[in-house]
Symmetry: none
Subunit: 415 residues, 2 copies
Amino acid sequence: MKAEILSVGTELLLGEIDDTNASFLSRRLAALGVDVHLRHTVGDNLKRLLQILSSARRRAQVILLTGGLGPTPDDITREALAELTQRPLQTISEAEMQLYQFFAARNREPSHADLKQAMAPRGAELLDNPVGTAPGIWLEHQDVTYIALPGPPPEMREMMDNQILPRLRERVGAEGEGLLYTRFLRLAGLGESQVADQLADLLESQTNPTMALYASPGEVRIRLATKASEEAEAQRIFMPVEQQIRSRLTSAVYGVDDETMEVALGQALLAAQATVAVAESCTGGLVASRITDVPGASRYFLAGYVTYSNEAKTDILGVSPETLEAHGAVSEECAQAMVEGARRRSGADYAIAVTGIAGPSGGSAEKPVGTVYIGVADVEGTTVVHSLWPGSRVQFKQRVSQLALDQLRRRVIGA
Amino acid sequence: MKAEILSVGTELLLGEIDDTNASFLSRRLAALGVDVHLRHTVGDNLKRLLQILSSARRRAQVILLTGGLGPTPDDITREALAELTQRPLQTISEAEMQLYQFFAARNREPSHADLKQAMAPRGAELLDNPVGTAPGIWLEHQDVTYIALPGPPPEMREMMDNQILPRLRERVGAEGEGLLYTRFLRLAGLGESQVADQLADLLESQTNPTMALYASPGEVRIRLATKASEEAEAQRIFMPVEQQIRSRLTSAVYGVDDETMEVALGQALLAAQATVAVAESCTGGLVASRITDVPGASRYFLAGYVTYSNEAKTDILGVSPETLEAHGAVSEECAQAMVEGARRRSGADYAIAVTGIAGPSGGSAEKPVGTVYIGVADVEGTTVVHSLWPGSRVQFKQRVSQLALDQLRRRVIGA
């Protein structure tokens, strides 16, 4: 099955945003074994969109579009599909009703422009958008399937994974091609070259599943891939290789596939029936925010204390003014006092504390920008680790939060 | 001058990397006033690359390619240009010499494959690559300029900025077109269709600068764009339109260009010489984390209290067990007690509190998932606003944090 992907939006052609939708869809289709032959980016221009659609439909069986489904006049995807297939736009009453309900919940009425979003070419299906107002469109016309999804990535991703992929998977399965299955092992605490060294022989000789490394800030992922007729067969192919990797890298493997570090930590805490509290200075609430990104986090997360000022460190966590005076807020001693204070105050089984210099200013020769102390405490005691992560302020916060979560995860699982 | 951009590489079509080259080139060309009408992504496939090139040359005067210039057999950009223009590949002796020197410096001999990189279609110019081995190609053929650059972003960027842009700039200048300048006005608290309604006449009639709306979760941006010979001239063209927009939308305009809501709030607090503290339940630290993403936030941010458990709400913020018992943690009364407690405890001039149901579970008929109460307090009193934001947990946190920051910003500037 051949596919082409069209990204619609003038902001893309101006380079104002990276087209992450196209690469997301490419990955999802590749995983299904669907061949993406071409991708195109078109502005909010009906004539050019029609031109690209006309040539794409001669080459592909599936055409996936993102963007251009909103309520404004420059949203033209719906019109282009109608004109291309010569099917007039019609209002789908169920979608119209949902729009009225959506706006009623916000004490507003949909405008004439908003109601455009309930329209689709005759014979098309509207796809529910549980995250926003613009529904997607699924249209079969002369042996080509057109799938239009909204441009905002959270909406597009949700709809692709929950509505589009299951339908395409069924179709690919019916065509009898083997599906491509992948499994990602996620690692923290090791650099890419360290992982490559420890797995050098496997990386060289391994052919089924294939094996590849991907590095991103704060993490390395190992991708295993194989073609199989079904999930269970793929898992049987992955298992011996995964076991070898795990036996070498042990607790550095924190999760698989979409499991983030905060998910892995949550699972560890649930398994230990333990609770946690967080004290943050330089990460400013990001560690707590990541922990609470996980549904059900209230079962183990009690409280976060973002003690940015010295007064708050003393007031909330009981860090003594003498400690702050003698060692400064960015110090091993302060991290220790913070983490023990957070644990005491919250009554949690575990606590994390982070204090450092996110920059761009505030550094010194002795404690440069990027300096951080991370403390972890439980009933058995407290450890504080010192490290240095130069980079931008936001990057620093991201990396340090990953490190802090990983440090606690290792403590909880006893690694 | 019209341009199309072709990104060449199977790894792009598999979604293994985001195509940041395309957005980089788009930005550079937009800044020159060159209209990028279409972008395409093609795999390492000669037939499809030729197909796209053949149609692109009928539409554009400049075709920019990245990728496919390396020494391996799947690098096909050079061959495609030769075949498209019917100009045979020839070795450029100067480039060949440079290759020999490059390898000699590494005590190696170039292979036959390596030497392919010194070849170009007859009449083409090779472009020096100071960062890698593959030179670029500049080829003029039948009124179309083909520019091929290597795929690795550092090589591509260096060559674009130092070799390609000066030549294109000269050409644009000779054609007497000005450069494109843009200005974004950022809005919060209004939906896209509300903004479109209030600016309907301007959106319809405005031609210089042009005006367009972009919506993303929690915000709408108005893009003004004009061609001008220099920045100051562009600003003179923007000003009257910007003033009209501001006079209609008043405090909904919170910033311009790259200014985020947290930056706008920080500026408002600095101007008022005021401090702030935050109490969060459902946003789990995200509001504090966003405030502290801004360099220098320590000048106005004192503390954040992520009181996830009821015990923490009582312990830290002094929310009475009676309030929690009678109204629940997600209630107007609790939000009020939280925000007043945060202000009292921290000694800050302003405080924000957020309590709600992020989901996916925990909702009820009376208080469904997405329910949120946002409180803002200062010396003059407390206000609590109730609203509903269905969607994923992470999106809920994002939207609600935007709303909370905006609510405080409006209070600080007295809007």
